[in-house]
Amino acid sequence: MISLLSKPWPWYVSGPAIAGIMAVLLFFGKSFGFSNNLSNICSMLGLGKQISYFNFSWKKQLWNLWFLLGSIIGGYLAVHYLQSSEPLKLSSATIADLQKLNVPFDGQLEPGSIFNWNYLHTGKGLFIFLGGGFLIGFGTRYAGGCTSGHAISGLSNLQLPSLIAVIGFFIGGLFTTHLLFPYIFK
C-alpha cells in the first residue's frame, strides 16, 4: 500500500482525491476554502481591533486553522514516507522553455536554483517570494477565495463569480509566465 501510494499519482487519482477532501469537509458541515485562513490568522493576532475586516470570531474558524496545521504535517509526511525516487515527469517543451529562462530542470518538485535562501537574498528572490506572497494574500482576499474556494468549491456549485475569478487567475498567471518571466529571469 505504502509503495503504491509512493509512486507519482496520475491526474485521474489526484483530481478525485481533491474532490474527496471537499466532500469530507461538506459532510462535516464546513466549506473548502484555504485562503480564509489568511484572514483567520490576522483575526487571531488581534488585528480586528484596528481593522474591521478582521473583527470576527476566528474561533468559529478554528477548524480551518487545524486543517492548515494538518496540511503542513501532511507535506512533511509525504516527502519523508511517500517519496518517489522518480524525477518529475515534466513535459519536454516546458523543460526547454525554462532552460531558455536560465531555470534548469532538476527533476524535483521545486527548482532548487530558486527555492533556497541564497536566491532569496537577491532582488529577484525577494520579489518572487515576498512580492508573490503579498499578491497571493491581497488577491485572494479581494477575490474572496483561491483555487480551493473558487476553482474547486465555487465551480462545483456552478457559481458564475467563481468562473470570473478563475479567468482572473489565468489572466494574472499568463501575464506573469509569458511577459514578466522573460523580463525577470533573462
Partner: protein
Amino acid sequence: MRAIFRAVKYTVVGILFGIVMTKSEAVSWYRIQEMFRFQSFFMYGIIGSAVILGIILVAIIKEYRLKDFYGRPIKLAEKDKRWKKYLIGGSIFGIGWALTGACPGPIFVLLGQGYTVMVMVIAGALAGTIVYGLLRNRLPQ
C-alpha cells in the same frame, strides 16, 4: 474533550490534503509553469476531474437535500454577484500564483516539505491580507 476530538479530526483531514497536494504534484512550481504554458493536460486533468466530480456531488446534495454528519442541511456558499472584485482580485492572485508556483494551501504544504523559504511567502501573504483589510472600502467591488 469535544474540542480535542474536533482538532484531531480537522488536522487529519488537513494531513490528507497535504499528502494529496504533494503526491498530485499540484504544489510544484514546474507543474504550474507547464499549466500556464498549456504544455500538458496534467494540471487540467486534476482540476477538471475534481470539478466534474464536485458538480455531481453538489447536484446530489441539492437534489436529495442531504444533511451533514450532525443532521444539519449542507449549505453551499452562494458568492455575491458583483464581478469586479473577482476579476481584479483573481488576476492579482494569478500573478502571485505563477511567481511562487503555489496557491495558499500549497504554501503551507511546501513549508512542511522542508522548503523553509516559504516563510517569506507566508509573511508576504499576511502583509497582503492586512493591506487588503485596510484598503477594502476604497477598492472597486
